[in-house]
């Protein structure tokens, strides 16, 4: 029987209250939202907080709103809510692609986007999605809010720039015209971590060439985006040839490790193949006629 070590529990009534509680209870206090990362760690005694600050009542952190050229997603938004949002699916199909393969439907009823990002698991899918979309993260602290790029949030496995006395409150996704995005994951079974996954966003210029492209990899040993692979696509027409080159560069940028999910060469092959697939899909969703320019079957 797995039971967490004893702790004290308190419910926050507002963001300000949560921050105060974190401050008062010091370094041994942890925030709990969905609890589907933290509670398993507590059961295994990998985490032994003395205080849990429950933020589930903070309705102000549970919203999805379009605000000009960005989408604002409250940190307490559940995976299931992101997946159910038509607005999210229309603006950022990559989010729906990823959410369909994050954990399982029951876990998605509880898990939150802020929790996923804050957990900073190296095999976590939404981090790649946010990297690719060049998301910004709003972090609240005693002295007010600060907004940082997603690339600044992650400091390594299970480590983020969100300090002990701070709270991730919102994710901001820039809305780009003529853009498309996609995510694809290879997993052994529903709910398992990725063997490997890739995500991409493609933004087309008015002349139909690629004005911006970003590619991210999950569980493949790459922090942030595959910059060279993205840069290789700039200014070219979407084509199988261009995607193959980007796939090759993304695979070269990856540094997978062998584990029970597969050997290095298999994972590197996946980096290449999944990059091509998500680019194909993202470009298609951006409105590009990729098939017309295809030269080979990839």
């Amino acid at each position: 029987m797995q039971v967490p070590a004893p702790f004290d529990y308190v419910r926050a009534t507002s963001v300000a209250d949560a921050l105060q509680l974190l401050d008062r209870h010091g370094p041994e206090a942890r925030v709990v939202a969905g609890g589907h990362s933290l509670l398993p760690m507590m059961k295994l005694r990998l985490a032994r907080p003395e205080w849990l600050v429950d933020i589930n009542d903070l309705a102000e952190l549970r919203s999805i709103t379009r605000d000009g050229d960005r989408l604002r997603v409250g940190a307490l938004t559940r995976h299931a809510e992101l997946l159910a949002s038509e607005l999210v699916g229309e603006l950022f199909p990559i989010v729906h692609d990823a959410e369909r393969v994050i954990a399982d439907p029951v876990v998605r009823n509880r898990g939150t986007i802020g929790g996923s990002l804050g957990q900073a698991d190296p095999a976590e899918d939404l981090t790649t999605v946010c990297d690719v979309l060049r998301a910004q993260v709003v972090i609240a602290g005693r002295d007010g809010e600060r907004v940082i790029g997603i690339e600044e949030l992650h400091r390594g496995p299970y480590e983020t720039a969100c300090e002990q006395t701070e709270l991730i409150t919102e994710l901001r996704l820039p809305i780009r015209p003529r853009s498309g995005s996609a995510y694809e994951k290879v997993e052994r079974r529903v709910g398992d971590w990725a063997v490997a996954a890739a995500g991409a966003q493609v933004v087309l210029g008015e002349d139909g060439t690629i004005a911006d492209a970003s590619i991210g990899l999950t569980a493949l040993g790459l922090e942030g985006c595959a910059v060279e692979a993205g840069a290789a696509l700039l200014g070219v027409h979407p084509s199988e040839e261009a995607f193959a080159e980007a796939g090759r560069l993304a695979a070269a940028a990856s540094s997978p490790v062998e584990d029970q999910r597969g050997p290095v060469d298999y994972k590197r092959h996946l980096a290449d193949e999944l990059t091509r697939r998500v680019l194909r899909s993202a470009a298609g969703r951006a409105g590009a006629d990729v098939l017309a320019t295809a030269v080979s079957g990839g």
Binding site: L52, V106, G191
Partner: protein
Amino acid sequence: MQVTMTVNGTEVTRDVEPRLLLVHFLRETLGLTGTHWGCDTSNCGTCVVLVDGQPVKSCTTLAVMTDGHEVRTVEGLADGATLDPVQQGFMAEHGLQCGFCTPGMLLTARALLDRDPDPDEATIREAISGQICRCTGYATIVRSVRWAAEHPVGAPEQPAEEVPA
């Protein structure tokens, strides 16, 4: 600390340790052993109960987190002697063999049908994909949920089939 929640329509108040998991609160504190306790790692789904109508893995939820919320367990499915259509469906289509996964499957099926009264096979398979059955290969579970969809108010009680001696 004291928690108050509605379980199967009845308000209950108990004094619990914050670390008590919802599954143990239901089984041990309230004696509602219909909710099964399986892998303890939020993988198998036999501990699924409904919290505010949504399927949740009760091995990965603290009882204190459901303070003020509404919990529904397998004991809360039947209305007196009348079984819920999903329970009838599992009988009619042999949706169980050993029965270990059944409470979780029933509740997920109930929540699915409340949201989508006429789900196709793919939708049902997706809905139960976070739950493991090692007996049926899922085929009869899917048929059971379809049965419930086709009989939304259940079915009049059938005479028991005669079993040859």
